[in-house]
């Protein structure tokens, strides 16, 4: 099956390791993964902050870029929820405003829609697109029909089901079913799991006091589990909770679901040769990496399923020390 990866702007920029993990995982499960280079952002930040004009422009671009694919997979519950819940609304508003649907650039850059004589309206594009966009765990469980993805991750993990995955996409127990099948993984329930962590996009900076108070409770609950790793299907929430855990020197790592599911006994997690992505900044004391975890995850010079670690770093930098630490 050929799938398009929607990496999301946040993962693309800040958490490329998650993207590499998705690629590794999907290939291991027999998918052909395509990364449409013209993609940028789903528009969620703009729409949710009150800038629907910019958001709609990005949504149209997204619809153009991914129009030709059978399945679009994204490692972000909230971006998938954005497409599913908000794109139809944006399309309705756009239709009501009577503006023509075209962003131009994506069409040219992606080349997917080239040759169409009458481009479909935004609403039509959205209607066709929505059923094809999946969050990672949805895609694995519902489309591929697997819960055992052949992963091995011998650590104590707790799972935070993030609001948009839980109440938006209604992922239910899909993510935990996947985690339960991971060899060596001990899954411990998170008290108050369904409560918001307080990220909420720009809410985190527009209402920092409330956001911090919410996060304090979340962090407290995470620590109460005695877990070594906090897992979620959204790096934005993890950046927030992990940022607070790090500031408190809690000694708990945060990892995206994809990274755990990509981990195997041989230690590789991503299709990436470690080269340039390796951290050059020393691991901050705030984010202690447990040695075994670092070993499991880091593949310095190790074989990857896709090929040897042969990438030439575009800039000088020491070799990888522990991949998961590097991006957070």
């Amino acid at each position: 099956m050929r799938v398009a990866l929607f990496i999301t702007c946040v993962n693309d920029t800040l958490f490329p390791g998650t993207g590499r993990a998705v690629v590794t995982l999907l290939r291991r499960l027999g998918c052909e993964v395509d990364f449409p280079r013209a993609q940028t952002c789903c528009g969620q930040m703009h729409v949710n902050t009150g800038y629907p004009r910019e958001g709609t422009r990005l949504a149209r671009h997204f619809a153009d870029v991914f129009a030709g694919y059978d399945a679009v997979v994204t490692p972000s519950g909230s971006c998938a929820a954005m497409v599913r819940e908000q794109y139809p609304r944006l399309a309705r508003t756009a239709a009501a405003a009577g503006r023509p649907a075209s962003s131009g650039t994506a069409r040219d850059a992606g080349g997917r829609a080239a040759g169409r004589t009458a481009p479909p309206s935004f609403a039509e594009e959205v209607a066709a697109l929505v059923p094809k966009v999946h969050d990672l765990s949805e895609f694995l469980v519902d489309v591929l029909g697997v819960t055992d993805v052949g992963a091995c991750f011998p650590h104590r993990v707790t799972y935070h089901p993030t609001c948009h995955s839980l109440r938006g996409l209604r992922l239910g127990d899909r993510p935990t079913r996947l985690l339960e099948q991971v060899r060596g993984l001990e899954l411990v329930p998170l008290p108050g799991a369904e409560e918001c962590c307080g990220f909420g996009g720009t809410f985190a900076v527009k209402n920092p006091a409330v956001s911090a108070a919410m996060c304090a409770d979340k962090a407290h609950n995470v620590m109460a589990t005695g877990a070594e790793v906090l897992c979620a299907a959204d790096n934005s929430c993890l950046m927030h909770i992990g940022g607070a855990l790090g500031r408190q020197r809690a000694g708990i790592r945060v990892m995206h679901l994809a990274e755990i599911l990509a981990a195997t006994e041989s230690g590789e997690t991503a299709a990436a040769p470690a080269g340039p992505a390796a951290r050059t900044r020393t691991a901050p004391a705030t984010r202690p990496l447990s040695a075994p975890a670092a070993r499991t995850l880091a593949a310095p010079g190790g074989a990857t399923p896709a090929g040897p670690a042969a990438g030439t770093p575009p800039e000088p930098g020491p070799a990888a020390h522990g991949r998961t630490g590097e991006e957070r």
């Binding site: 609304r89 609001c163 720009t202």
Partner: protein, 531 residues
């Protein structure tokens, strides 16, 4: 109640203060979690709750769509049953009507059943200005009134108070309002309730005029319905010679049969009970009694005109959304600057006040004075404001903030700008976690309305520029790639603590390490990890 929400700063500042109040946090945590659990249990035992919820939503939507017709039907039915119907376009008019009706009886005091509509219009203050004292008879409202305080919850207005505080309020203030609290009053709930009971009993027996709201009005029969837990409502509705009910026009249901759905939805969502203790229904005036129904618009028809925002009018004020809201749980009700706090307040207040588009309200919005600032007390002018006659000088400050108010001032009305800053911040008082939508018994998609209102809210200049810049970068993949490479190169210079607005993040959270290479650059360099 004499405090005011007027001139309250924006939500983030109110919230930051509330978050640091450990007593408030403790009370709220305990109370909201208890009610939340009770609600979940009561809703969980109903098979087909979702169908019930869908029915509630459909009945409300249908009624709102044909509101004109049903309102006329109601008026006719009430008149037929001996009641008189008055129409009030805004808060001023409603207050004038009620005050006039009370004056006509020659009385100078009224007893009140807990009612959101009368709080919304600031009725108590308006009556006080005409020499009429309104006595609240709901226990929690009594606590708020005696404490010269503001309500902070729709259902449990004194949720921010604990037993010890209530005892103090009773001991200090009851004597000023009537029968004093017993000397040996303890903070046992039973003792506190008994003190309130004795205090109120005298009031019920001696007052000839009552003012109520209503949970529902049945168009078919002209019947009004009040649900309550203490029996004070039944006293007010039956004992006095004159009953005046102030009810928002959206409280309508077409038929008795529709009530069946809501009598199941409301108690379970609200108090977490299978059935509430007292349900009173009355149709018109009974023998020897006078009944007046004041139908209140006060911004509702304007809300109805907004295709997305109008779903807020389905609200049956159960307060389930407050109890489940993680933001409300941490800041309480006062921070929202309105009698309608929490998620529903965040979408209802700006719409009712007409400040949701950043412009000044048309005449007769919801007065800002209807409730108090946290810890604040009502300035003398607040009554004037609630009557829509705020002196021009009082608007000077707000005018500096919000030039749009100039028109309101020139019309001689309460400028919407008095609350403009606060109102503009309300749609942002949410992390969009969706918990409110999930529990709402009439399925109001509160996050959808929040996002809708955010689009209409005025945005700070710096934010506008930043959003535009981000939009520009994200418009083209090349620009994004360039920005990523730049940040990758600068990553070593990013400090642990950021200055300016970014400090809002780094004050409490580390920032993630910026990777040297973005995903897209990795993909290109390795041909998708194959090289």
């Amino acid at each position: 109640m004499s405090a005011t929400f007027l001139g309250m700063p924006a939500f983030p500042r109110n919230a930051a203060r509330a978050v640091g109040d450990s007593q408030l946090r403790f009370n709220l945590r305990k109370a909201t979690r208890t009610i939340r659990g009770r609600r979940a249990a009561m809703v969980g035992e109903v098979p087909g709750w979702e169908e019930l919820r869908a029915a509630g939503r459909q009945i409300k939507d249908h009624t709102l769509r044909h509101l004109d017709r049903y309102l006329l039907q109601l008026e006719e039915a009430v008149a037929r049953a001996g009641g008189r119907v008055h129409w009030a376009a805004d808060a001023d008019e409603a207050n004038r009507i009620v005050a006039g009706l009370v004056e006509a009886t020659g009385e100078t005091s009224v007893v009140k059943v807990k009612s959101m509509a009368t709080q919304e219009i600031g009725l108590n203050e308006a009556l006080a200005a005409r020499g009429i004292t309104a006595y609240e008879t709901d226990l929690a409202e009594l606590i708020v009134q005696l404490g010269d305080d503001l309500p902070s919850h729709i259902l449990v207005p004194a949720i921010h108070r604990n037993r010890a505080e209530i005892r103090e309020i009773f001991r200090e203030k009851m004597a000023e309002w009537g029968r004093p609290a017993p000397e040996d009053l303890t903070d046992e709930p039973r003792a506190l309730a008994e003190a309130a009971r004795l205090h109120l009993r005298e009031r019920f027996l001696s007052t000839k005029v009552a003012v109520s709201g209503a949970n529902f009005m049945i168009a078919e029969t002209g019947t009004l319905v009040v649900l309550e837990s203490e029996g004070n409502g039944r006293m007010c509705l039956t004992l006095p010679e004159t009953l005046i009910s102030v009810v928002g026009i959206e409280k309508l249901l077409p038929t008795w049969q529709d009530l069946e759905v809501f009598l199941q939805l409301l108690p379970r969502s609200s108090t977490g009970e299978r059935m509430n203790p007292y349900t009173s229904t009355w149709t018109g005036a009974s023998e020897g009694q006078e009944f007046h129904l004041v139908l209140l618009d006060n911004g509702r028809t304007r809300v109805l005109a907004d295709e997305v925002g109008r779903q807020a009018l389905r609200c049956i004020r159960c307060s389930a959304c407050l109890n489940v809201c993680p933001v409300y749980e941490r800041v309480g009700g006062h921070a929202y600057g309105s009698v309608y706090p929490g998620p529903i307040g965040a979408i209802l207040t700006p719409q009712l006040r007409g400040t949701d588009s950043g412009a000044s309200a048309p005449p007769g919005g919801m007065p800002a004075s209807a409730a108090p600032a946290p810890g604040g007390r009502m300035p003398a002018s607040a009554t004037a404001v609630s009557r829509g006659r705020m002196p021009a000088s009082a608007t000077a400050v707000s005018r500096g903030r919000m030039p749009a108010s100039a028109t309101a001032v020139s019309r001689g009305r309460m400028p919407a700008s008095a609350t403009a800053e606060l109102d503009a911040s309300l749609p942002y008082a949410s992390s969009l976690c969706g918990a409110c939508y999930e529990v709402c018994p009439v399925a109001i998609d509160i996050p959808e309305v929040l996002v809708h209102l955010r689009a209409k809210a005025p945005h700070p200049r710096a934010e506008r520029l930043a959003m535009r810049a981000a939009g520009w970068v994200l418009d083209r993949p090349v620009r994004l790639a360039r920005a990523q490479r730049l940040s990758g190169r600068l990553r070593r210079f990013v400090p642990r603590r950021l200055p300016g607005p970014a400090a809002a993040w780094t004050d409490t959270r580390d920032i993630p390490d910026i990777p040297a290479e973005s995903f897209r650059d990795w993909w290109d360099r390795t041909d998708g990890g194959t090289r």
